[in-house]
Amino acid sequence: MSLYLLSPPHLLRLLVLLSAVLSTCVGTVHAQTVNATSDTQPGIQCTADARITEVFDNGAVWDMCWESRIRENLVLSDVYYTPPGGQPFRVLASARLSQLHVAYDDSDVTYNDVTQYGLGGGYLLTLANADCPNGQLLNIQSRPALCRWRGTAETGYRTASRATKTQSLNLFSVSQVGAYAYIIAWTFYADGAFEPGVGATGALQRSSDNTELPFGRVLQGDPDTLWLSHTHNYYWRLDFDIGSSATDDQFSEQRFVLAEDGTRQFQQQVFTTEQARRLDPDTQQTWKISDNGLPNSPAFVIEPLSSGHRFERKDVEPDTDYDFFVTVANDCERFASQNARFNPDCLNHVLQYVDNQSIENQDLVLWHRVSFHHVPRNEDQRHMHTHWDGFVIQPENLLSGTNNLAGQPNTSPVFNAIAERRTNTQELVHENLLATDPDGDVLTYLATGLPPGIRLSAQGHLHGKATVAGAYQVSVSARDDHDETTTEFSWVVADPTQSSKSGGLIHWVTLMLLLLIVGSRLRWVYS
């Protein structure tokens, strides 16, 4: 009744408020998570049902919008990560699978599933609770098709007395394209890492009745069919907007090169133009996108760890000569291949997008390809066990320290009493500085102010011969897994050779004085 008293703007506000309250309640019930950040967080522009906010036990938050598109299926946008105890940090403007290229070994057929068929729309499978046993189903349009579940990573940390694993938010939907079912997955870890992935399952697609061909295998129980080997090439498009500005990100490549003297030297190449890059396993090459050009600014790093397979057919598909691309963001550049199929005014594949354009002060997009070659085995029939492919993007200098370590109970190390030290130059020092740790943590030691020539090993072993006499104030710290204790002591280094010289002078002066005294007395006696 009172609604009649409200003006249209007030009514609209009330409806928005009611909608927000309802969506919050629904989110709480279904997602079993808490919205830690305000809906008014800058940069996140989507309705409540298109938003995913996951708060982890360590206090970290992943916050993003999602949608399912006809071609790419899952597209994530406005992706923010809040480190434990930190502020929301913008990571991505958008992220998606941008092509699913399948090439058969007989080379008769090549599919570009995203652009030829699409992973969304009618290709998207409706999921039942049995498909998402440990999570919650979300609707795509009017049917459940996205599974959201909380998992645990394979990694965390381990100290001498404690180990933890990192929590994860997992999202997936399933697209049935031909006989294949592709599980389009995204995993976001509580430590700030994230991982695009695809699981390929379903059934084998292509076969030949010529079992003599060297392009596949005959499987048990079906001697008249040759199932063809093939490669899945997954291309992801990641539009990074790290930090507060979308146009100050910096892209670089790191290598660790073995030098002639046996050391491994760090080399970094910062790029100023668009790039297409190949894997270089021998130099342990990684790629990094940094918040800005300042040294040690927060960044995300891609280690191509899943690169044991590499597809190449460069005479007909020149983009397959490369594994990684960086381009300036352009809405026209949507798919890694067959891009012009939907927009003839746009370029056709990702290698064409790399046209020497400057990437300085631009919004950057990274494209990464991961290949998997599938050799049929008996176990693939009738339905294949999922083979998973993807890659992890790790944060660098975004967290303030090791994830999950803060807040763990700890007692700091305690030093045994260290007395003032007096030694001579060139005297061999060979002893331990010891501290104890009530938690049983392994201790490492570090010292400053030591006399030149003396070193303290990380294990607390003092070793060497002081080379310069003097008085030194030494600071030594013992670190356990959480904290460090520092103590100081003085160390006087004497030079015995200087002592003997000065002692001789004193003796000589004393002797001279004595002689003078004796001489003067003799004169007195004789006078």
Binding site: T126, F215, T444
Partner: protein
């Protein structure tokens, strides 16, 4: 932990046992498994793993007499023994890598002789199996979707993880063997603990921004080597095959599958462009496939030839245990000292094959690794390959 015995399975096992007793093939013989180390896990599907787990003071977790039973199948041998064969850690400012599996330098340098780390409720969120040397952490983990087809309900599976850990100075190393419900064997090793080596030269070291006045921490490259002694299925000797898929640009870019037998001891490299992989196959046709899809990096070394290869195959010899410093570690001067020496051109025919698999990765310190290193994980999969005639999970539905 359940072990179901069905009449057919029991009969098969009796036959297999009889065959084993009457076979003339020499096998690697392990000492009997003490009761507390004899483990098994049966999943709901009926898939079952049985094994013997031990923790060595030298190299951590050892899994031996590993057997897998697929749903509806019977227990069959997979591996006679698996454990870390070496770990190298190369600090970038040093000339040489440090072998992490090597005798300790002793208490004189402040390092405790205790190497294995005890599994307790702070270090293990699963069951603690009290073997000697710290024990083993046993966890059951839900896997991602095992299989899905159209609107048929997804199949789901679990994994059984066994982990032990040891430390070397302030570094900790976790070794895990994950056994999945569908027969995959996934060995892994991860580095954590604390980095402490420092150097002002940023060619070798990375500063930690939060530590404003501290010296940069030195980067390091790891190499993990797993030793896998196969004993597939029947007692007949296993064979080793290499799969390559050769691109022929002159024939419309077709890729021809080439399967070649590896008949003598050898070291091999991943060939990414050829999708190279290796299969160990029993006379029965059952096999396991090492697909190096997760092989990201190569390890380059100036003084260790073997470390530059990704995989090695040798004939089983009881005293060839570690890829480096083998004589010292086994206290046996009559044995060869490194994998380079093990690979001596001997025939693999009629022998029990041993696979040595290398993986490498570099740690570049950042705030995420301070004060404790976020796990640096190296892992790979051994896939059952024609182990069963079809997916054993079809029968679940």
């Amino acid at each position: 932990m359940k072990l179901r015995l069905q009449p057919l399975t029991l009969l098969c096992q009796i036959v297999m046992f009889w065959l084993g007793m009457h076979s003339g093939i020499a096998q690697a013989m392990d000492t009997p498994c003490p009761t507390q180390q004899s483990l098994s896990h049966a999943f709901k599907s009926g898939a079952t793993w049985t094994l013997c787990a031990d923790v060595s003071e030298t190299h951590g977790l050892t899994v031996s007499t590993l057997r897998y039973r697929a749903p509806g199948d019977f227990d069959r041998n997979v591996l006679q023994r698996m454990h870390l064969g070496q770990l190298l850690l190369h600090y970038h400012d040093q000339r040489d890598a440090l072998a992490q599996i090597s005798p300790l330098s002793g208490a004189a340098q402040g390092i405790s002789q205790t190497r294995t780390l005890p599994m307790n409720t702070h270090a293990c969120d699963g069951d603690i199996i009290n073997t000697v040397n710290g024990g083993v952490c046993s966890r059951i983990k839900n896997n991602r979707t095992l299989a899905k087809y159209a609107q048929r309900p997804s199949l789901h599976s679990q994994s059984w993880e066994l982990t032990s850990a040891f430390r070397r100075g302030a570094l900790t190393w976790s070794t895990t063997v994950t056994l999945t419900e569908d027969g995959t064997v996934r060995p892994s090793v991860s580095l954590s603990g604390r980095l402490h080596r420092r150097n002002d030269n940023i060619a070798f070291a990375a500063p930690i921004p939060a530590l404003t006045n501290a010296q940069p921490l030195v980067r390091a490259t790891l190499l993990s080597t797993w030793k896998l002694v196969f004993d597939l299925d029947t007692d007949a000797p296993d064979r080793v095959e290499q799969f390559d898929f050769i691109l022929d640009p002159t024939r419309n870019n077709r890729r021809t599958m080439q399967v070649s037998a590896i008949e003598t001891e050898t070291l091999k490299q991943v060939e990414r462009d050829q999708f190279r992989g290796w299969r160990i196959i029993d006379a029965s046709g059952s096999g396991y496939y090492l697909d190096p899809a997760k092989s990201g990096f190569s390890y380059i070394s100036q003084n260790m030839n073997w470390a530059q290869f990704d995989v090695g195959f040798t004939r089983f010899k009881p005293c060839e245990v570690y890829a480096l410093s083998n004589r010292l570690l086994t206290n046996n001067n009559d044995c060869a000292d490194s994998l380079d020496d093990f690979v001596s051109g001997e025939s693999l025919q009629g022998a029990q094959p041993v696979m040595w698999y290398n993986q490498s990765r570099t740690i570049s310190p950042s705030q995420e690794h301070w004060p404790v290193i976020a796990d640096i994980l190296l892992t790979f999969d051994l896939l059952p390959f024609d182990w069963t005639g079809s997916s054993p999970f079809e029968v679940i539905e």
